[in-house]
Symmetry: C2
Subunit: 247 residues, 2 copies
């Protein structure tokens, strides 16, 4: 990592450089790709959309970028007009898809984060396949990847992470996470500079507490150090099987 450059660079420049690094190193976007960006309206996925539009000229690959927002029946706060306008200014067409998540709950069942995210992921995949997208870009960053690694380690007893590139066997689609090399603090700084930090759509069912615990553990283990996080990231690719690529 070009340490000296990054120490002097602005927050948006850091995101641009590290997104390009991940895309080139992991070959996340190929010539002719149709990339569907999943945008929640939050800082991570909005920053991702901006970063992909910003690096597109340097990629020198023909690729199409579009954004999909999945609305649900308990999502009314989202500043969709703001999001749509931002995406338009970055040259990214925007679609809003309504999925009645609560309406799909079977009688007697309670809403939970796992079930809801499964429903939304299935709709995202179906939309991508139906509209001939071969890549889906998600806004997860380095902290998300490491947290998932620790959750899988301590809860599932598995040595596995959230991959930067994940090919599906059943669908002609590959998931990519172009912000995978970037710390959350760096994403936040960029989102603030771009004026998109406060447009998140929050869920009334609250945050996932298991992930909250994992986040606290990660803070203890790394002491908040970006260098430690990058060493963990390097470790995830150091074995015979690279935990950052699947499928």
């Amino acid at each position: 990592m070009a340490g000296r450059f990054l120490r002097r660079a602005g927050p948006d420049e850091i995101i641009r450089k590290l997104t390009a690094k991940a895309v080139f190193e992991r070959n996340l976007i190929a010539d002719g790709d149709r990339v569907l960006i999943a945008v929640s309206g939050g800082k991570d996925s909005t920053t991702l959309a901006w970063a992909l539009s910003a690096i597109r000229p340097a990629l020198k690959r023909r690729c199409e970028l579009e954004a999909l927002h999945i609305s649900s029946d308990f999502c009314s706060c989202c500043k969709k007009a703001f999001l749509s306008e931002k995406l338009r200014s970055w040259g990214i067409p925007f679609t809003d898809l309504f999925v009645p998540v609560i309406g799909r709950l079977k009688p007697g069942r309670k809403m939970n984060c796992y079930w809801c995210s499964t429903q939304r992921r299935a709709e995202l995949l179906k939309y991508a396949v139906d509209h001939s997208f071969n890549k889906i870009a998600l806004g997860h960053h380095l902290d998300d990847i490491i947290e998932t690694f620790f959750m899988n380690l301590t809860e599932k007893g598995e040595l596995s992470a959230m991959p930067v590139k994940l090919g599906y066997r059943k669908y002609p689609v590959t998931l990519i996470r172009p912000l995978g090399y970037i710390e959350e603090t760096q994403v936040i700084a960029c989102a603030e500079k771009l004026g998109i930090a406060a447009s998140a759509c929050s869920c009334p069912y609250g945050i996932n507490s298991r992930r909250g615990d994992a986040r606290k553990n990660l803070a203890v283990l790394t002491g908040g150090s970006g260098n430690v996080k990058r060493r963990i990231l390097a470790a995830l690719s150091s074995g015979k099987n690279d935990l950052l690529e699947e499928g």
Copy 2:
């Protein structure tokens, strides 16, 4: 793991069963092996010596057990007579080898844990080879293994652990860690029951602070839960390359 049995069993019985489980599952001791047990006089290695003597009849394998203690020029507190007598009562011959660690320091160099342990490990290997031992048994337990995993992850950027079985390429010797499935609290409980908990030989240069930090991090991450530690242990063997066996 036979959970119900272990909840009712005494601390010495738990150590016996889990040591036998590791030895059988990992094939740590084969017929005809000559096993050199490295004993510091501390709770871990003394418990290991007892455990190997206790499971020997059930192994149904001809194997020889001997113990080696490495004394150094700053080791004067060690209760060697007590240790020697305990080992004799378990049928394990005992040898005390003097290594002048301070005397080997080059002018201007300070003592440190890494250098000292390298010196002692080299002497241990040399003694084993010179006396035709093909296995060296070390007293590291589950907490040591997981701590090493986290230290390698966060400091070296490597996905590697302290293996339960490690074959050397350069020497006709294999390192084994038969207490690798056992939590430190279980070792302590057994050592207390056997009356060997207080005979440790402490080093005047203090404990290794990096390992101390790793121990604190481990406590946060696992919440002290044995089940979480065992899930991490399972994870270390879950990938394409088993991190618990090398060489």
